[in-house]
Symmetry: C2
Subunit: 360 residues, 2 copies
DNA sequence: CCTTGGCACTCGGCAGTTTTGAGTGCTAAA
DNA sequence: TTTAGCACTCAAAACTGCCGAGTGCCAAGG
């Protein structure tokens, strides 16, 4: 046999590839470890169990397979899955029904919150995994309007609408008391003056204006600046809203049969910050992102995999949509699912956005 | 032995009471069925197992105890718990630490959403059960202000502030396009005209005004009415916000060791409508409400118990706060916990509310 | 040189049996 | 009225043997 190097895992024997492929597929389907005998009997190879054992032993040496205990079959490692996904997998295309469900569900919603919520639900339902949809910080988007409403004497709710239609409500407490007229004026001023800029740009301008104001001693201007800065600050932690749907679905999975593993996984899902973190790292990547088990700290901790994709167009990435599930999942089905949904989502949001633009 | 009648469960033998009490306590502590031998050995009775057996047999006949299977010890029935709670339980007063946690947590939050969220978290953490905080519909409360903000061309966000400081944001779609000036005017009009009324009253007035408008053909008035009605309609389903926290805690409980029971319970918690329903029935009651297992349909379904209490003062009940847990829970600790938290919550909200009133 | 059959060995899971222990009810004696 | 004793029940734990799937290694065969 040709020596097997493992630089980039690129050059496995053709036969070894086929074997690995088959093992992964069978293991995904059954959840059980796969043995040589079973593999031989499945008919795709005209090899005896003994020969397959040799191949499997090699694959194990290379770290693509492992056995849970001696005298059990082999299961893929995360490395095995990774190789499978990048080189061996043929994505199943979506069924008519799946496409319909997505289109219909997403089509019915209009508010952006609803859209994302519905999307995560649909994703969860179709994948029978945990569906996640994530909208990243507003910081990078242009602002269309800002308004201020008194909801208490020193409490003001600021409503920020971004150019992509996202609405953020933020409550701020102020030192001054603002009258309704003042708030209205300030809102108009900021909106007309700063529409089209990002929050960050707005903040910088406001800060620059501070000096200007000192010279003029314009009380109104001062109030505007204070309020504006207050409103623009710290929008970050609030609005990376994360929609997690279908957590109960993991209760079905055989790999979470015992309560301990289940508990661990559940707690992991509670840690939204962590989820956001890992999704954010995916956000930078183009196209479909798959993170398997030990490939990242968080997923290793909990034996997860994540299949995710950015949605929104290149110029304005809007967020991430993805699936969280056990390492053993039907990647061939999940991949096109996430892919399709992310595109549908991007299209939908753009559409809604456009509609508005048009009508005005 | 004196004959034991069971009218209102009021007249059990003193000894029988003591035995029941001990059984409930021990069972709560251990989760295991309690046998005569164990009971005799615990030292609180100078009776032999045989005598205790007699007492226990009686208690079983009366429906306070039951045995999971012959030759196991006895377990309290829901009726047994009920008797325990109403007649036998000595509430443990809260520890210093518990009080501190509650005060501090609740003290730090200011927005009403935060307060409720934090409260349910604290409750869950301290009780190690599922903590629930529920804010009922706004319908019954007076409105302080209503404002309208354009967030799209035919999308308007309506911000309703009630007199108790609750803020509701509602997005409505309209047939007309409203200008900023119009929205501002309408907001002012409605606020000045209708402040102090409940949503229901406002709706009725608006409807009455429809006729008036017909006569006058005042376009502005017409717009105001349409928008107003739209805003006031269907606030109901949105804002009985329910904060459920600590669902993961049930994963620890031995009674949910097997995955099936666990799954059932989890799904039950998903059914927020049902939860709301049962909490609403508790809402009518004064003081601490405890619902045990079979005492209501929903709890029977899932072998829950609920310990809940209304918060807010008599004149303006604000909502419910409570704990959901297995029938076997430390009622003696949960009761004062819920009690204290509900009071803290009521006080806090009133305070925040007052503060505002004061400053104006 | 690769493939294959054979062989010895390992180990988890299953079924059946036994043992143990906690608990009960009943009865008769104190 | 209490208690000790006895016979009985039953679930859970422990022990048993056994089967089967799987492995590694070796030596024979194409």
């Amino acid at each position: 046999m040709m020596p097997i190097r493992d630089i980039h895992g690129e050059d496995l024997d053709v036969r070894a590839r086929e074997v690995l492929r088959e093992i992964v597929l069978q293991h995904i389907a059954s959840g059980e470890p796969i043995g040589s005998r079973m593999l031989s009997k499945c008919g795709r190879f005209s090899l005896s169990p003994a020969s397959l054992r040799n191949v499997m032993a090699d694959l194990e040496d290379l770290g693509y397979l492992t056995q849970p205990h001696t005298s059990a079959g082999r299961v893929p490692t995360d490395r095995g899955y990774r190789f499978f996904i990048t080189h061996l997998m043929k994505s199943r295309s979506l069924s008519q029904r799946e496409r319909e469900v997505i289109d219909e569900q997403v089509g019915h919603a209009h508010e952006i919150d609803d859209i994302l919520q519905v999307a995560s639900r649909a994703l969860s339902a179709l994948s029978d995994q945990v569906g996640v949809v994530f909208m990243p910080t507003l910081l990078q988007f242009a602002i269309r309007s800002m308004d201020f409403i008194a909801i208490g004497d020193r409490k003001i709710q600021c409503v920020i609408v971004s150019s992509n239609g996202v609405v953020v409500n933020k409550v701020i407490e102020t030192r001054f008391v603002f009258s309704r007229d003042e708030l209205d004026k300030i809102g108009r001023y900021i909106t007309t003056e700063f529409a089209g800029l990002t929050l960050d740009q707005i903040r910088r301008r406001l800060i620059r204006m501070t000096e200007q104001e000192r010279a003029q001693h314009d009380e109104m201007l001062q109030k505007t600046i204070t309020l504006g800065i207050e409103a623009v600050n710290d929008v970050v932690p609030f609005d990376h809203e994360l929609y997690v749907e279908g957590a109960a679905s993991i209760l079905n999975k055989p790999e979470y049969a015992d309560a301990a593993a289940l508990r661990k996984t559940f707690l992991a899902l509670q840690e939204k910050e962590k989820l956001v973190e890992i999704l954010e790292t995916c956000l930078s990547g183009e196209g479909l992102q798959i993170v398997i088990g030990a490939e990242s700290d968080f997923t290793r901790m909990h034996d997860f995999s994540i299949v995710a994709r950015r949605y929104g167009n290149q110029s304005t990435p809007l967020g991430m949509v993805g699936i969280i599930g056990p390492m053993r999942m039907e990647y061939a089905r999940m991949a096109p699912l996430v892919d399709y949904l992310s595109r549908a989502l991007g299209r939908k949001i753009e559409e809604e956005h456009h509609e508005e633009e048009h009508e005005s």
